[in-house]
Amino acid sequence: MNIWSSGRLVIAGSIAALALSTATLSAHHSFAAFDMSKEQTITGVVSRFDWTNPHTFIWVDVVNEKGVTETWAIEGMSPNYLGRRGWSKTSVKPGEKITVSIRPLKEGKTGGMFIRAQIGDRVLMPTGAPTDER
């Protein structure tokens, strides 16, 4: 079962939404630091959520195959943008178990660009129509 098919946010149209998020992120910076050809999924525990401009960051403690805990930094859209699309500063909370799909950083760094996430039965998407147009 595809875990992204559950949850209370609808995923239909996510391809278009991702295309939009690509255009949107590029307003501040390029994708040069990220491997846009790859999609990687990590699971761990949230240690911090930066609800900040110009980008949000979800910090996740991930235990790797050697049993060592690594700190992953997941860059997302700005709070201004996400806040108009259903997110809030408490959408991601320290201590929550999270599964995040990302475009990984190049050079094997432990980080990436947010694509989507699941926390419990909640699915978090980066874009979509503003909440006042839904």
């Binding site: 307003a27 630091a33 980008h55 006042d132």
Partner: protein
Amino acid sequence: MKLALAAALAISLAAQQKPTLKVPTEADWAAIAKLPDFTGVWEQTFGGGGRGRAGGPPAGPQLTPAYAEKRRAIVAKGAEDKETANCLPPGMPEIMGQPYPMEFLLTPGQVTIVIEAYSQVRHIYTDGRPLPDDPEERFFGTSIGHWDNGTLVAETVGFSPQTELAPNVPHSGRMKIVERFTLTAPDTMSIETTITDPEALTAPFTSTRTLRRHRAWTIAEYICEENNRNSVDDNGKAGINIRK
């Protein structure tokens, strides 16, 4: 003696500072109410009303050979990112195309555009003053405007060399931008932007954006330096800081 000198200095400074907005009268404020209602917060819609004209020439600026060569040279450098990654605002015209909203404020003699991206502000003087002959080079340029049958027509000159006519295309000191702001429906605004530059362009470059009004929105702060972990160095190498 000192006082006289100071007074003379003040007078000469005042002379340099004109034109000056006149003190608004009740009639000036009443006249604002007769203008199209631009109030509120607007955001560009993506997917509708793209760049260029349908059925016209291919979208994108038609460059003179000299500026086509400049573009080639810039692209050939292969920079991975732009200074916006270091939080430098893009200036005109790119600042009008951000995926963030903007608010229009109409006051006597002036239209102010509050742009959320990078927390920027543009001032368009509608009090009849002329464009400056020898404008300062600024990220937003210097703007004047007038109302043409319900359309706000803004003319802007004098841009910083750090701004671009289009991605990877520099401009000359003679670039001019004319924007036509029109309400096409109660909550829909069209902005038609025409760029001319006798040194860089062989033809005017026109693009159109469509904005939707969001009555429930307010402009939020956008302090790019708050937690900017992206960067680009002098060699064009992009970086990201993931130290927690």
